[in-house]
Symmetry: C2
Subunit: 421 residues, 2 copies
Amino acid sequence: MKIAVLGGDGYCGWATALYLSKQGHSVAIVDNFVRRLWDHELNAQTLTPIRPLSDRLRVWQAVSGKTIESFYGDVCDYEFLASTLRAFEPDAVVHFAEQRSAPYSMIDRSHAVFTQVNNVVGTLNLLFALREHRPDCHLVKLGTMGEYGTPNIDIEEGYITIEHNGRKDILPFPKQPGSFYHLSKVHDSHNIMFSCKIWGLRATDLNQGVVYGTMTDETAMDEALINRFDYDDVFGTVLNRFCIQAAIGQPLTVYGKGGQTRGFLDIRDTVRCIEIACENPAARGECRVYNQFTEQFSVRDLAKMTVAAGKKLGLNVEVDHLQDPRVEAEEHYYNAKHSKLIDLGLQPHLLSDSLLDSLMNIAIKYRDRADASLMLPQVNWREPRNDRRLQMSKTARNSLGASRVQNASELVEKNKKHSHR
Amino acid sequence: MKIAVLGGDGYCGWATALYLSKQGHSVAIVDNFVRRLWDHELNAQTLTPIRPLSDRLRVWQAVSGKTIESFYGDVCDYEFLASTLRAFEPDAVVHFAEQRSAPYSMIDRSHAVFTQVNNVVGTLNLLFALREHRPDCHLVKLGTMGEYGTPNIDIEEGYITIEHNGRKDILPFPKQPGSFYHLSKVHDSHNIMFSCKIWGLRATDLNQGVVYGTMTDETAMDEALINRFDYDDVFGTVLNRFCIQAAIGQPLTVYGKGGQTRGFLDIRDTVRCIEIACENPAARGECRVYNQFTEQFSVRDLAKMTVAAGKKLGLNVEVDHLQDPRVEAEEHYYNAKHSKLIDLGLQPHLLSDSLLDSLMNIAIKYRDRADASLMLPQVNWREPRNDRRLQMSKTARNSLGASRVQNASELVEKNKKHSHR
């Protein structure tokens, strides 16, 4: 099957591209490398030293014997996108090519507007390009569990049967997204649903949970294939950040009470879910929604598990409760359905102690690259910055409340002393 | 009360600005006149000869003794919008400043992208500007009943109580918008709801039905104050178009079976609804949704009423059923609640025969200005034009299927002959 992976140089995209290539699919990566640019803007970097895409693809060919094509450009550029579809002629397009950080979208007005325009226009372009050039191609679009928010009822997979005043209908599940980023995904979902209806496109909208882990069988084949491991307050996801905080002896930063409960999954399940979606395409005119996660945890649960895993490795891990910079319920009901991908054959990698160990071991292996100043939340939902387009420099970070943070090596030293007591 | 009317040079905006001014409010119009530009793009014009805003405001001052301030600029320009809010210091902002035509958004990819970016970014800018400069100001935002689509259950006003698997919550009413324009309004609604929640803004989202009529007490005070009366296939609304078709002896163009049912209201009720919303502001942090219409009709009902009204005026009105250029149910359940504005004091102007007569009389008065080539649908939901950014010229219109249309004077002649038989 010919599969184009839009955003294939990013965290989930890179792992997915390699996995699909390994499985024998013909894969193309479409990317404009803007994710790497944001590292410079935020003065942050992945814990793991990633290589340029051309190096990655060269090494992949050497170790696997498989070739991955690459197309350099922006999905917001319609001519580029359309010509790419015409040239590669994919059977499925996996669309990761969006700004995917909630805090990034909440920095200030410019970042909110950028996130919504970038994500919505990129997806609109893709819908129009598919209609014009590849109407039979299957769109596999990454959404997020965050589209649903935390309603006081069970979360279904995309649609819900509502009985009301004696009548009944199956309607899109009501959305209560919690950031301008999550809102952009809700906008996308509506645009996709509509385009399938009017043009007969086929789409699978994967509402993904929070992804953890960095290693997949493919990225482990060579150091040059290593994936991103983001831990900063803007692009880092919670469990990855906790592991690094544990590894460098910094307290885990739990926002508020930590009762915030979300769906989580191992990145090895992300790549398999994408394959399952591609191999079981939606029908013409169908817009399916699958909830893509394997287990629910509260932030407090994850902190406890990280403390326990740290203990086994001889690390003394503390937990800090910070004021929640987000506007969200800190304790709430949460029960989200996630059976459709299981029914299609997903066999989850659950977050056992051993997995947590291996995640922590990566964190420990690269901890000298960790920058402790990146881990305290500096973006506040209630108080976006006024619109001065500052670079998120270390100075700016410090002025935004990160002054308590010591640097990584000091913290590691301190922690060693702790352990010796 | 100081009220800024964004989009105050447009159809609903102009009537609203005059009405609020007449009621003694201090009014400012904010507009960039882009609606007038679209007339040139589409090679169309309002049936009624409207004057430039500066003339309108001069005459308004002469006949009413009231001054309306004006600010020229685009709400997508944040610096302009922010400085306008700082300068005028409104207590309420009425936001009509969006691209409001479903067919316009469906012309091609450029128009879809323009509509969503223009509407979403303008509203995002307004939300950020209110937060930064006028956090206590009440946002009165025009949404549309088209956000809901036509679900098989009763449509509530913005929110619905859902019982599911033994639990209950009040959630945003699920949306099924039917064009890229309607989608832009859904995106706005989600952005507004979120901003009220995180920043404590106050907002009223008015999901307006299809507006008909052109005269209000204020616009009738002087010919120079006359409002727009759009009848073309892109910006014209159905009842206004039917009246002109009747007046010039052209068959009424019913799309498909004509069972499409929607909420309608007289423009005199639009202006009163806005006043009611302004005088009863939402609380801090509240995002209220009111359904702003007074009666439900199917397109078929409206055609019948127009035929009957035409008969009373000696016109022989025929009805044509065209293939529906939109993707929508042509027969469906429809029952939308609309009691909240009534509860706050709205006294509806219902569409009686006499009102239809007066609307028809306007159409007859100006029928020599009518261009029959503008009334057949040329935008097709299923087949947007490929992206060649053509001007929607008369040539393009004809090539898009309007060849059957005769010009207005020929049709009027033909109709006269009919009447004499």
